[in-house]
């Protein structure tokens, strides 16, 4: 049970009203949210500090130009409270970043919502954005995930925000266009809303509904994993998937988990002297240039897979069209499972490679 603010206008207006109140009363110093930047509906993330500018926000827009956890990292630690309206996976990404000391939860009040998925970047480029978006919102009133969202979104089981201070029901919410409910999950959120005059009720999320969505998402996941399944043992299928990688490392740059300023695989550790390459050539008929394209993928999996939140950003920016994110999500689940770790679940948890347990994996080492 948590305290819920009820407002009798549509969800976006309700949230806007709440934010306007907080901002004009100096309860918060800014709002970070998606906002519309042109008449075509193209959105970017903005940090808004003027009440008048709040009107441009599109808090629930089904796009992810950047994984917001990157942005939150750059504006934290914040000296004054900021409200950040982000998607559940972005929130989990931020939690993972905070665990890696790439940001701070201090003074950040997170608002998140049950997410119906994100449209791929190239879908959101066309002129009929408005039609696409309205169809999207019509679909997610029910329990079905729209067909045109990112492949990983269709397979995402964590559509309910895990650690948000304020949760809004969007996916599966029939009353999305008529009522707004802001669930206050934490003390911080309740304290913040004290000055806001409104109807407050005790309410819980509709578990039955959420279970239904979860069931469908699980089926979606099964379908996705079947599509990308590697059926044969050996290198061939793996090379089929990643063979077209052009080594641009775009996937790692947009990844919320890959925070290194200089990726290990771009460092001078992997510059080879020409005589080394020539020597290798004498043992093999052919060598790929530039080297290490596939090594990079395996290496990156090894570095971050257990924290992969499956946001799908990598797949969207891949110029070669490799299903990066689907594969990373699948592999990530298998590595995180080893440690019963759910990325982004709890900011107090330690990432698996930074901690040990004495009694584990007894079968290893014999």
């Amino acid at each position: 049970m948590s305290k819920v603010i009820k407002i009798d206008i549509n969800s976006k207006q309700g949230l806007l009203d709440f934010l306007e109140h907080l901002l004009s009363n100096n309860e918060i110093s800014g709002v970070m949210s998606l906002r519309k930047i042109n008449e075509n509906g193209i959105c970017d993330y903005g940090l808004i500090t003027e009440v008048d500018d709040l009107k441009s926000i599109e808090p629930f827009a089904p796009v992810m130009p950047v994984n917001a956890s990157h942005i939150l990292s750059s504006i934290t630690p914040a000296k004054k409270p900021i409200i950040a309206i982000i998607k559940p996976c972005e929130l989990r990404g931020f939690v993972e970043r905070v665990k890696r000391k790439q940001g701070s939860m201090k003074n950040i009040i997170t608002v998140s919502y049950t997410c119906g998925g994100v449209l791929p970047l190239n879908t959101f480029q066309s002129d009929d954005n408005e039609k696409i978006v309205s169809e999207y919102f019509e679909t997610i009133k029910g329990t079905d995930t729209p067909e045109n969202v990112r492949p990983v979104c269709k397979a995402c089981e964590h559509f309910i925000p895990m650690t948000a201070d304020i949760t809004i029901s969007v996916f599966g919410n029939k009353d999305f266009n008529s009522k707004s409910c802001l669930m206050m999950n934490t003390e911080q959120a309740i304290k913040l809303s004290k000055s806001y005059k409104c109807e407050i009720v005790e309410k819980k999320m509709d578990d039955k509904l959420m279970d239904e969505i979860l069931k469908k998402r699980k089926a979606g996941k099964e379908k996705l994993y079947k599509e990308i399944a590697i059926t044969k043992d050996g290198l061939d299928e793996f090379v089929d998937i990643f063979g077209k990688c052009i080594g641009c490392h775009g996937c790692s740059r947009v990844c919320p988990i890959c925070y290194c300023t200089l990726c290990d695989f771009e460092s001078s550790n992997y510059d080879y002297k020409v005589d080394l390459i020539e020597n290798e050539l004498s043992q093999k008929d052919g060598l790929r240039l530039p080297p290490d394209t596939i090594f990079f993928q395996l290496g990156r999996l090894n570095h971050m897979s257990f924290s992969c939140i499956g946001c799908g950003q990598c797949e969207d920016v891949c110029p070669a069209g490799i299903p990066v994110s689907s594969i990373f999500k699948k592999v990530g689940e298998s590595t995180a499972e080893l440690f019963d770790y759910i990325p982004g679940k709890d900011v107090e948890e330690i990432i698996p490679v930074m901690m040990i347990k004495e009694q584990e994996f007894p079968e290893v080492g014999e």
């Binding site: 590697i230 059926t231 044969k232 043992d233 050996g234 290198l235 061939d236 299928e237 793996f238 090379v239 063979g243 290990d264 290798e280 043992q283 093999k284 008929d285 052919g286 060598l287 790929r288 394209t293 596939i294 090594f295 395996l298 290496g299 999996l301 090894n302 897979s305 257990f306 594969i327 699948k330 592999v331 298998s334 590595t335 499972e337 080893l338 440690f339 698996p352 490679v353 040990i356 347990k357 004495e358 584990e360 994996f361 290893v364 080492g365 014999e366």
Partner: protein
């Protein structure tokens, strides 16, 4: 006559336990195959999983990691980290259809010369059964 396949096994061994164990095997004149190419590291946790990946992709038929028994690490907890990293790598290999059988982690203490020889023999036999690594032939890696 077909040439018999002699595997090349890259082996990263911890200076305090396994390397000394291997030495002991030598002193005790225990037989173990020449396929093992041992590289001494200060602690098994020095082994970046990326080393293992690199050896695998560059054509090693097997990769053997040797460290102290849990609890015996010279640096107290190093090998626990190794164990976690090894499990992550194994899991990645399994989910991508790569043969994780080619990876092996063994705890061998300084006094276990016999165990070192046994592990080396066993692992070489196993790799022989699996066959040469297909990374040797693939030019698209």
């Amino acid at each position: 006559m077909e040439k018999e396949f002699t595997p090349r096994i890259t082996s990263f061994v911890c200076k305090w336990c396994t390397y000394t164990g291997a030495d002991l095997a030598g002193i005790g004149r225990l037989q173990y195959p020449t396929s093992i190419i041992a590289m001494r590291v200060l602690c098994s946790s020095r082994i970046d999983p990326v080393f293992i990946l690199k050896s695998y992709l560059k054509g090693a038929d097997g990769i053997l990691i040797g460290g102290c028994h849990p609890g015996d690490c010279h640096y107290e907890t190093g090998n626990y980290y190794t164990r976690r990293r090894f499990m992550i790598l194994k899991s990645i290999f399994d989910s991508l259809g790569l043969k994780s059988d080619r990876l092996r982690l063994s705890w061998i203490s300084a006094s276990e010369g016999g165990k070192f020889a046994r592990v080396a023999n066993e692992f070489t036999e196993k790799i022989k059964k699996i066959g040469p690594s297909d990374t040797k032939r693939n030019m698209f890696l």
